[in-house]
Symmetry: C3
Subunit: 201 residues, 3 copies
């Protein structure tokens, strides 16, 4: 229940982030819908295909389709009220990766995968939609910009497993892990923190 | 039967469109074959993977492989007789999306998916091969040019479901829906019709 | 046994090739790890998804994950001693495609696919990781440069099947076929051999 609630929230956040990118590119309505769809459903689709849960989730559960269409139409109608496009995009994308990381980790656990694989799965679920959105919109993919992005997901996913050593309720662990991803990315961008690159000489 | 006939026709059309793009890039024979293969088999491969029909169709039914190799060799040999390269490419690509849209919708229905999902599946089947062909050949993907493309597939897929409310034979519904996709794209390009983009202010 | 040994060797070679590309792009440690992972695991992941062996191999067999992490850390630590970056990259990538071609062909046979499909599967297993590595690192994909690459894999895969007409032990066939791929690519690059492109007029 709570798990699906987080998944839907992440779907809304990513769909809106897709609409914002597509609007900036002045796409036509179908183009905007396709970008919103790919952004919101891309990560989960990759995850489901890799673990063999097919037909993929959004094909068998119409909720996702309706949520994505609804979010897209709402975001288009309210587009004049979503101020500061870049900031909104950053916020919705960050909420999206926070929620999807936890959703992906959980999905991996549910099919009995190793914790390291679950963290990788969470990171892919979180990052793949945004990367595809950016490639399709001809932007530099968010994951390759000089920012902490996948790293925040990896740390959030690791947090999820570490919290299980403490007597904390499952739902609280969900929320904390997702919040860790969001907080790390917000702080990293605010204070311009990035990992040092490895030089060769 | 009729269904597989359409699928083979679409395969031929897309393989030829792949050869035409590859020839323009002056690729070597293996390069041409790989582009032809990806264009013709890409959409169906994505569709099969997403619905979990694996090994994917072209791996278990050698007909597709032989048809693609045959079309490629024929198109290479007859290349001097395929006049007006751009026009030929446009025509073969358009026939391809028309046929593949219907094939994809049908495949979705055969595994019991919701009509909206079937239309999405038909659109993906139709568009993914051409998009991959263009990315691999370093062209702007056809779907992102200022033309009606995915939109034609979506309308054609919707037509397929609407026609089922009328007393029309299945095979006729196939042909009409595919023709709708082809007609919409032909007319849209001929009369330079495109959907208006959504401006933000 | 021997089969998995080749697979691990290929994984090491591709992981190092990924590290070398990522180092040249001055990525941060997580970026280097992600590129190494995609390069080493990408081809096998595509193969497993297409034939329906899910969850994909690296998710269920932790050996691959540990080998990739170990290779990455070692290559980073020893980076000052891997001289002539371009040459090293070329060598590790070539060893990688040689080994992965045979691994991919074998995997195809193990699920009963047609020899032609097995060769295609071996070629995809060998080439997909390197192509993704190059796309993610913003390099021209190795497969599209004017060099023999996929062609070497196709010939090596065909060799594998032809050798079965002779009384040669299975493990020896593995080694010869992989060596054919490596030799063809080495010789082609050394003597600047490439297939002629097909002109249109």
């Amino acid at each position: 229940m709570f798990f699906q609630f987080l998944d839907i929230l992440g779907t809304i956040a990513f769909a809106i982030s897709g609409v914002l990118v597509a609007l900036e590119k002045r796409m036509d309505p179908f183009g905007v819908l396709i970008i919103a769809f790919v952004t919101a459903a891309g990560g989960g689709t990759l995850r489901d295909v890799l673990i063999g849960q097919t037909p993929v989730t959004w094909m068998t559960n119409m909720t996702y389709v309706y949520v994505i269409i609804g979010s897209t139409v709402s975001a288009i109608l309210l587009r004049r009220h979503i101020n500061y496009l870049r900031t909104s995009l950053f916020l919705f994308d960050t909420i999206g990766i926070g929620l999807y990381t936890v959703v992906g980790v959980e999905k991996g656990l549910s099919v009995g995968l190793h914790p390291i694989i679950c963290v990788a799965l969470g990171t892919m679920t979180a990052c793949f939609g945004g990367v595809t959105r950016d490639i399709l919109s001809n932007e530099i993919p968010v994951i390759f910009r000089k920012e902490i992005y996948a790293t925040a997901c990896i740390i959030g996913g690791a947090t999820y497993f570490m919290l299980h050593y403490f007597p904390i309720k499952e739902n609280v662990i969900f929320v904390i892990s997702g919040a860790v991803v969001i907080a790390i990315r917000l702080l990293a961008v605010k204070f311009k923190i990035s990992l040092p690159s490895i030089y060769r000489d």
